[in-house]
Each structure stands twice: as structure tokens, then as C-alpha cells.
């Protein structure tokens, strides 16, 4: 099948990138002209199936290296790792859009960002050091390590995005409530941002507790960092002294408490931090010639909740014609309230997902309900199987590509005829 765009037809291309997101939206602005928007381009290190290069090449071919807008929904590896400066600096890029939480001129954003980055580093070092020590670790550790990996080593991509890829792209930051009534270079496109919010209670949730101590490897020796000694030395007492017999713990118990409370709680912190970053997702609503496309990034409940209760949210949800399913179809990324308000049979959906590194993603009951709500007009990226990526985790095979969708070498397309 020739890979060409059809006149008067919106095409949304979801790439099979592994565990990550990469969507190319092509909008027909005249009979034979198209403008292209790229929403995210990244893959998680632990869910990489090695298709990134082909994907970026395909983006270059389809767009003739011209992108009207590049959107980085949030600063997670699985959404931005593909924004390599050497590749994208060869593109002509109109604008780069990011959430307000990335804005270097917003003091709140800067402070929060600094904290998030420091915390992610600390957690990464701590997990590495504990692994080295061969300590018993909790069941949640593997998942926590993967969550933290998603937060670090994003600097190159972020720098490139902030620099407008060195091609004079106009870098802009948005928050929930903002809108762009007329997007430069894309006649007919108007955009509203539904998230991320900026209110105090949201911010409080974004602010992870700092001040814990953590372990770090230094030339193969484990050091305790950030450690606070709460009392003067004179108060410390040798537990082996006879008068301590009744006020000390057995060694097994000491060890248990050490792993249980002083160290495993950091797993929880890793998930909370991950959640916080997901919730900074730019939630973008495109309106183009009567069609409404919703790209919520990885927004989780907190982000959705901020605008779901506002007037008019029900109308927006009822009107959408396309939904990019948030956060790879995870459990709390598509609130029931929101999904139930979408008009049954009136919209199609795409889920970029795979069940590695996290087996609980995507959430099956959610997938089932989406099938019902879209009347089967939904595809999962991991249904795509190909000799190009033989070792990629396989999702449920599609017996029949649903109406309006098409299959390609590295992608699924969804077409909306205008």
C-alpha cells in the first residue's frame, strides 16, 4: 500500500515505538497540502523494541522534514527520548509546545523541576547501591526502578526541545485554560489546553517530600547521603550494654525495620514522583474543520480531575471524534467519569502500549470498556507484529483492522474523511 496522504482527510499515525508514545497528526489545509504535528516521540529504556530510527526516518519522509508543531507532553523518557538534536535539527519546525511546568521563566516550575530532578537522581543512585549490596528488596522494586529510569537521562532531549532544536522553532509553554485560536501555519486549526492545572492544591500534590537519606555508590563503596544525625553523639548508646536488654531489638528485627521502613518506602516515593510528572502532561484538544481530537499525554487522575468538574467539560467530551488513550491505557489514566461522557460510537481511540516493562499496563477492563464505547474502533499499538521487530512483546493480534484504520510497517493510521 503506498504511504500517501489522502486529500481532505485527517490522518493520525500511531507508531509502534515500544513502551512509549509517538503520534504524527497530518491535517489537510488545502486540496493537496498538509500540515504536520508531532505529539511526543520517545520510548522507555526497558520497553524499547528498536524501531525509533525507522520511525524518525518515516516522519522525515512523510513530512518532507517540515513540522508545524512539535509537542512534548511531559518530561518522561517514554515521551521525549526520540527528540535527538542531530535528527530534528534537520527539520524545519514552526513551534515547540510544552507544559508550563517546563517553563524556565516560571519560578514555581523551576523550583519544582529542580526538586523532581534531584529526587529522581537520588532514587536512581539508591536503587543502584542497594542492588550492589545484594540486599533483599521488595516486590515492587523492579517496577520502581523502571519508573525512576523513566525520569532520568532525559537531559539531551529536553535541552534540544528548549532550544527549539536550534532551528528557531518558537518554544511556548501552556497551562490548563490556555488556548491558541489560530495556529500559525495551520489554517483552520484551533487548540485548547485542558491541563495541566496550576492551582495550589494541585501544586501541593506535585511537591514530593524531600529530606530523606539515601544510599550512593562511590567507587564501589556504599555511602549514605543526605544523612541527618538528629542528636549529639553523647546520646547514642551501645545496644549491647546490659541495661539495654529490654529496649533493643533482635538483629532480625533491626534488619527488617531497616529494609521495611528506612529503605522500601523509597519505592513508594518513586511511584509518587512518576505520578506527579505524568500529571504535568499537556492535555491538548485540537479542533479542525469540525473534528475534535483529544491528546491527554499521560495525564492521570489529578490532572483530569482539575477540568472534569468545570462547566462545559461534559460537552467537550461528548464532542470528541478521536481519543489518544492516556498513559498507555493504565488504570487511573482514563477516569470512568470522562470515558462515560464520551459519545458511544462517535469516536475512535488509539492506545500506544505494551505489557513490558509493566505487566499491569494496559488495563484490561479499561480496554474492554473502550471497545464498547468506540464500537470497536480502537487499536493497540502492540497488536502490530512484524518481522521488522521480531522480539517485541506481542499484544493481542487484530483479526480485522477496524473501519477507518490502516496498518503499516511500523504504524497504525486512523483516517478521518472531512
Amino acid at each position: 500500500m503506498p504511504d500517501t496522504l489522502k486529500p481532505n482527510t485527517i490522518r493520525i499515525r500511531m507508531y509502534r515505538i515500544g513502551f512509549g508514545d509517538c503520534f504524527l497528526v497530518s491535517l489537510p489545509t488545502s486540496a493537496d497540502e498538509f500540515r504536520h504535528l508531532l505529539v511526543d516521540c520517545g520510548v522507555h529504556g526497558a520497553g524499547n523494541i528498536g524501531t525509533l530510527d525507522e520511525i524518525v526516518d518515516n516522519i522525515a519522509t512523510v513530512t518532507s522534514k517540515k513540522l508545524a508543531v512539535v509537542i512534548a507532553t511531559h518530561a518522561h523518557q517514554d515521551h521525549i527520548s526520540g527528540f535527538a538534536p542531530q535528527k530534528f535539527s534537520q527539520f524545519q519546525i514552526g513551534e515547540v509546545w510544552m507544559p508550563w511546568s517546563e517553563d524556565p521563566k516560571d519560578p514555581k516550575a523551576v523550583q519544582l523541576k529542580k526538586k523532581h530532578v534531584a529526587l529522581a537522581q537520588q532514587l536512581a543512585q539508591h536503587f543502584a547501591a542497594q542492588a550492589k549490596m545484594g540486599l533483599r528488596v521488595s516486590k515492587s522494586r523492579t517496577a520502581a526502578v523502571a519508573a525512576v529510569a523513566n525520569l532520568v537521562t532525559n537531559k539531551t532531549s529536553l535541552d534540544a526541545l528548549h532550544a527549539g532544536f536550534g532551528v528557531n522553532a518558537h518554544v511556548r509553554f501552556f497551562k490548563g485554560g490556555d488556548s491558541v485560536p489560530n495556529v500559525n501555519e495551520v489554517p483552520g486549526l484551533s487548540v485548547r489546553f485542558l491541563g495541566p492545572p496550576t492551582d495550589e492544591s494541585f501544586l501541593a500534590k506535585m511537591d514530593p517530600p524531600a529530606g530523606h537519606s539515601y544510599l550512593r555508590l562511590n567507587r564501589n563503596r556504599v555511602e549514605v547521603m543526605n544523612q541527618l544525625r538528629p542528636f549529639a553523639d553523647k546520646w547514642e548508646i551501645d545496644p549491647h550494654r546490659s541495661e539495654m536488654k529490654n529496649v533493643r531489638l533482635s538483629q532480625t528485627e533491626e534488619k527488617r525495620i531497616k529494609t521495611d521502613i528506612a529503605s522500601d518506602s523509597l519505592d513508594g516515593l518513586a511511584f509518587t514522583l512518576d505520578n506527579a510528572i505524568n500529571n504535568t502532561s499537556l492535555v491538548t484538544l485540537f479542533s479542525f474543520r469540525g473534528q475534535t481530537l483529544l491528546f491527554p499525554g499521560d495525564a492521570q487522575y489529578g490532572n483530569w480531575a482539575s477540568w472534569l468538574e468545570q462547566d462545559g467539560s461534559a460537552d467537550i467530551l461528548a464532542s470528541i471524534s478521536f481519543l489518544k488513550v492516556a498513559h498507555h491505557g493504565s488504570v487511573n489514566a482514563t477516569p470512568t467519569d470522562a470515558l462515560e461522557k464520551m459519545a458511544t460510537g462517535k469516536f475512535a481511540a488509539m492506545v500506544s502500549t505494551q505489557s513490558s516493562p509493566w505487566p499491569s499496563i494496559p488495563r484490561i477492563p479499561l480496554m474492554d470498556r473502550l471497545k464498547e464505547q468506540t464500537k470497536n474502533r480502537i487499536v493497540r499499538s502492540d497488536s502490530l507484529q512484524s518481522a521488522n521487530f521480531p522480539n517485541a512483546p506481542k499484544g493481542p493480534a487484530l483479526t480485522k483492522v477496524p473501519k477507518g484504520f490502516q496498518k503499516g510497517d511500523f504504524w497504525y493510521d486512523y483516517l478521518i474523511k472531512l
Binding site: P230, I237, I257
Partner: protein, 603 residues
């Protein structure tokens, strides 16, 4: 004659503590003395219920234990408040936790039992709740059934915005009176109600948090000095969050500290903790938002949702306070004097403080007592209202001061509607005895072993449990249990209390539990399992006759079982919010108790 026999044993042991937390300095009677029940103590302190063990897992070290029997400590009435001496910290957690236990015992009319079992045979603290005042370097504190402990962390205050604390100074959660009461309450509820920690709906975790906050907040009104000062500053309106400055500032704005407006610590919880985290305010407040019926539909985070219940209780409390002190205010005004913040007569302030303290004590007791009238699992805020009304009615049949009317109004304003109730009238809110509900003769459970003066022995407990289980099976229909499903009896509590009319009430509370292993999604064979519980709290009179059977029916696994449908829905939707399940998934859903560790991180 030995020395010790020449003197009567003291009843009480005075110990010093912060009324709020170190950030309040010496203001507002912050240095207070708690008089706790005297008991033999060894260094730690280690007593009958509690063992304070100062092991710091983050530093892998022990701090010197306090010996509260040392004469130099005794003559001082306990060590002076100090942030730098760990022995004071140990004294304070012990004192505050003991005081909280005493409140519960007083209200419930029985001795405390903890909710955990076990511990190694050679563990000298097997049956005690362990307290680790400096367990870890983390801005967190929680109760852990697994560790049989209250775990308190310490952490450096925010470098940029630490409120009344110094930037970066060490903040100890065990020095916050509120946090200690809150965590102790979690442990105490767990001892009363084993299954309350299972999150079966949005109300269950929220209830646990709210109840702990309620107990902590009511405790504030027993600090006489702080109370009198706040009554002076607010002109008697102690529920106001903000307090006018001592002197109104001039046009150029406040110049000295007396011209700065402050906030009212009586209605705030854990101020230092909240501020040190950079939030610029206390962790939580007694009266959060304006009463409205929408919050209940949109707040699901346990603390936020719990705040609705806290506000309802404190609305009732403050309304009762206003009603009961109106006469005093009128008398004061009759003399022509103004009743306003800057000129409240000290006698009036004293009388108001007395009233506020008395009413707070009564409300706190009503709330704690209501625990016995709660269903054994899956508590809803509406159930708690019914429990409050019934419990109070049982002890004080005529509601002279309109306390119950106040509760009903406050709950109604916040949209908390009990299920299966026709109206908000007191009669329909009271749990009804079995004969009214099912039109059957109330069953009688004969042969239970208990007496007024001692706790049942282990053998007696076992026999009682067998007796009660059989009783439940044989009277399944009358008690709202499912026939032909095994019944387990839990937490048999004899209780004794004296009503205001001087009568001694002897009653027995027990939980009869049933359970079924079900699929989360009944249509999907691969879906994870969970334990669905049903059960009935039975209140028996001293002859063993059922007075109330407060039920959450097990029911059948079908569409008509509303409670089951609701619980399934909750697991699917809300469990997700923890962040953990996003990545871990789970093969089994419930049975793991609520993880207070994560909840308390404040997200």
C-alpha cells in the same frame, strides 16, 4: 515496713509535653503537663501497653532510653521540653500515647486490646504496641500492624519555606502532639475493629483518617491555658481560623509582632509539619470548606474526604458550644459591657473555657463510644451518624442539649445520607432492635463468660468465641447473616459504663463475620480474586439478649447485591489512585490492610 508501703501508690504521673509542637515556643501554654495514669515503668519507657524503643534505622543506632523513675526526673514532674534531648522525645510520645489510650478506655468502658498478634516468643514486648520515636529520616509517621508499632520519622525542614521553623532545621514528627494522638488512634481503632483497615470503598480509609483527626482535635480543648488565651483573642468565637492581631495595625501595615494576625492553633492540626513541608499552613483544619453537599461527590483522597466528616463533627461541636454559652454571653452583655476580642472579662473567659472543655470532652466520648455501634466492616459516613445517634441515645435518652440534633443537622448540611433511612429524624436514624426490623423475637446468647472486675481469660475468650459463632449460625436470619455460611466471632468486648443518671450499663459487643472468595469481574475467569466480607456487630445486654444487630449483609454474588457491586467498582477505579497499582497490578485485591505509610505521605 518497706519504704514503698509507707506511702500510698500515686494515681497519676505528671509528665511534660508540648501542647502543640516545638514551633509554638512557649506561647499559648505550649509547655504543658500531661497527667497520665500511674503504672510501673522500666527505662524506655516500657509499661503495660506501650514499649518505646528508640532505634533509628536510618542511622542504625540506638538513643539512650529515659528512666522516668529516676528521682531527678520525678521531682521535676518529667523532663523539660527539649528538641535536642531524645529522652524528652521518648517521654512525650509515651505520655501523649498513654493519654490517648486513657481517653479511649474511659469512653469505651473497657481495657485496651491491640489489633496485632504474635511477635517472637522471646520478644519481651510481644503484647505491647512498640513506639519508634526516631525510626527513620523521612517526613512521615504511621501505624503499622505488621511491625506492631507506631513509626515516627524526622526530617530537615524545607530550605526555602519552613514557616515558623528554621530553614533546614530537624523536625521531629514525634514532638507533634497531634501526630502522636493521630497515630495512636489508628492503632486503637485497629484494636477495636479488625476489619476497618480494609479499604472497601472511598469512605473506609477516609473514616480512619477522619476519626484520628477528630480525636486529636478534641484533645486541644483540654489544654486550659491555650483555650483561655484563644477565647480571649477570639472574643469567645473559638472556631474562627484566623485571629485578629492584639493591636490593629496602622496605615503603614503591621510593624511589630503584636500587630500581625495569627491563626488559631485549636482548630489546626500539625502546624509545624505542614509548614516545614513548605505548605505554609497546618497539615489540616477542623473546619475545612464551607458546608456543601458537593464535596462528598468529588473528594476521594482519604484525608480530603475525611475532612468532610471532621468538619461535620466540629460543626456539631461548635454549634453546641455556641448554644450552651449563649446565656453567659447575654449575662455579660446585660451589664452593658461589650463582648469582643479586646475586652472579654477574665471570669467570662474562664467560664467559656470551662464550657468548651466540658463539651469537647463529651463530644470526644460520644465519638469514641460510637465505634461500638459501627458495622464491623465497610463503614460509610452515614453509618457513623447512625452509630453516634444510637450510642448517645443509649446512654443519655433525653437530648436536653440538642447534641444529637446538632449532629444530624451538620451531617445533613454536608450531604451525608445514611442508607435505608426514611428521614433525618432521630427515630429513623437510630439502629433498630431486631424485633422492629424483622419482627422477630430478639435472640439470646446464653452462657457468655465475663465479669465486671476482670478481663476474660484466654480460655474464656475462646469459649465465648465458639458460643458466639454457634449463636450466629443458629440465628443467621434474625442477625442479618447468610444461612449456611460459616460465622466467625471476632473481638468480644464486655463493657461497663455509668450513665449520667448513675446507672451502670453492662453490655457486650461482638462482631460476627462471614466471607466469600469472589472474582473481581464475575464474567471473567482470569480476573483477580478478593475476599468479600459480610458481618454484623451485635450488642448484647448482660443476659445475652440482642439489643442491636448492625449489619452489612454478605448477600449473594449477583447484580442485586449493591454493596458488592459498589465494592467491585471501587477496586477498579479508586485502587488505581495509589500509583502503585499502576505498575504492579495485583493478583489479589484487598485483604492487604490500608497502607498508612503511603497514605500519610500526604498525596
Amino acid at each position: 515496713m518497706t519504704k514503698s508501703q509507707r506511702y500510698d501508690k500515686p494515681f497519676e504521673r505528671p509528665l511534660k509535653a508540648y501542647a502543640f509542637d516545638p514551633s509554638q515556643g512557649r506561647n499559648l501554654g505550649n509547655y504543658m503537663t500531661v497527667s497520665i495514669r500511674h503504672e510501673p515503668l522500666s527505662p524506655g519507657p516500657i509499661g503495660r501497653y506501650l514499649a518505646v524503643i528508640d532505634y533509628d534505622a536510618s542511622n542504625d543506632s540506638y538513643y539512650e532510653p529515659v528512666d522516668l523513675n529516676d528521682p531527678s526526673v520525678l521531682v521535676r514532674g518529667g523532663l523539660e521540653p527539649s528538641e535536642s534531648d531524645p529522652r524528652f522525645h521518648q517521654q512525650m510520645v509515651y505520655a501523649v500515647a498513654s493519654e490517648t489510650i486513657r481517653r479511649f478506655e474511659f469512653a469505651l468502658g473497657r481495657r485496651t486490646k491491640w489489633g496485632f498478634r504474635g511477635g517472637a516468643k522471646d520478644d519481651p514486648h510481644r503484647s505491647r504496641l512498640r513506639i519508634f520515636p526516631h525510626a527513620m529520616q523521612e517526613a512521615n509517621a504511621y501505624y503499622s500492624r505488621d511491625l506492631r508499632a507506631l513509626v515516627f520519622g524526622y526530617f530537615p525542614a524545607s530550605e526555602t519555606d519552613a514557616g515558623a521553623s528554621l530553614a533546614g532545621q530537624t523536625v521531629f514528627t514525634c514532638l507533634s502532639h497531634d501526630i502522636v494522638v493521630h497515630e495512636t488512634t489508628h492503632a486503637l481503632i485497629d484494636g477495636q475493629r479488625r476489619f476497618f483497615m480494609e479499604p472497601t470503598g472511598p469512605d473506609t480509609p477516609a473514616f480512619h483518617e477522619a476519626f484520628a483527626d477528630i480525636v486529636a482535635l478534641f484533645q486541644h480543648f483540654s489544654y486550659k491555658e491555650a483555650l483561655i488565651e484563644m477565647i480571649q483573642k477570639t472574643g469567645g468565637l473559638i472556631y474562627r481560623l484566623n485571629v485578629a492581631p492584639d493591636i490593629a495595625p496602622g496605615e503603614e501595615g503591621p510593624l511589630i509582632s503584636s500587630e500581625l494576625a495569627t491563626s488559631n492553633p485549636l482548630v489546626q492540626l500539625a502546624r509545624q509539619f505542614g509548614e516545614a513541608m513548605g505548605a505554609r499552613r497546618a497539615l489540616r483544619q477542623a473546619l475545612g470548606t464551607r458546608p456543601n453537599s458537593k464535596d462528598l461527590q468529588k473528594l476521594f483522597e482519604p484525608h480530603e474526604r475525611g475532612a468532610i466528616l471532621v468538619a461535620a463533627i466540629f460543626d456539631a461541636f461548635f454549634s453546641a458550644y455556641v448554644r450552651k454559652t449563649r446565656d453567659l454571653m447575654r449575662i455579660a452583655r446585660a451589664t452593658g459591657a461589650q463582648v469582643s476580642p479586646d475586652n472579654l472579662h477574665p471570669d467570662l473567659a474562664n467560664r467559656l473555657a470551662g464550657e468548651a472543655a466540658k463539651i469537647a470532652g463529651q463530644f470526644s466520648n460520644i465519638c469514641i463510644r460510637a465505634l461500638d455501634y459501627c458495622p464491623p466492616i465497610d463503614i460509610l459516613f452515614g453509618d457513623f451518624l447512625r452509630a453516634l445517634i444510637t450510642a448517645d441515645y443509649d446512654l443519655v435518652p433525653n437530648d436536653v442539649y440538642d447534641y444529637r440534633a446538632g449532629f444530624i443537622e451538620a451531617f445533613r448540611l454536608r450531604g451525608i445520607r445514611p442508607e435505608n433511612v426514611v428521614s433525618y429524624s432521630e427515630e429513623s436514624l437510630r439502629w433498630c432492635p431486631p424485633e422492629e426490623m424483622k419482627n422477630v423475637e430478639p435472640p439470646v446468647c446464653k452462657g457468655l463468660k465475663f465479669d465486671v472486675f476482670s478481663l476474660p481469660t484466654q480460655t474464656e475468650q475462646r469459649e465465648n468465641a465458639i458460643l458466639l459463632s454457634r449463636f450466629g449460625r443458629n440465628n443467621a436470619r434474625a442477625l442479618g447473616l447468610r444461612p449456611n455460611v460459616p460465622v466467625q466471632a471476632h473481638s468480644f468486648h464486655p463493657l461497663h459504663r455509668v450513665g449520667p443518671d448513675g446507672r451502670l450499663h453492662v453490655e457486650i459487643v461482638a462482631e460476627l463475620m462471614q466471607q466469600a472468595e469472589l472474582k473481581l469481574d464475575p464474567k471473567n475467569r482470569k480476573s483477580p480474586n478478593f475476599t468479600f466480607r459480610g458481618g454484623t456487630t451485635v450488642l448484647l445486654d448482660r443476659e445475652g439478649k440482642v439489643r442491636y444487630a448492625i449489619q452489612k449483609n454478605l448477600g449473594a454474588d449477583n447484580q442485586e447485591n449493591e454493596r458488592l457491586t459498589r465494592q467491585r467498582r471501587f477496586y477498579v477505579e479508586m485502587d488505581a489512585a495509589s500509583g502503585l497499582t499502576t505498575y504492579l497490578g495485583s493478583s489479589r485485591i484487598d485483604s492487604r490492610p490500608m497502607n498508612f505509610n503511603l497514605i500519610h505521605r500526604g498525596y
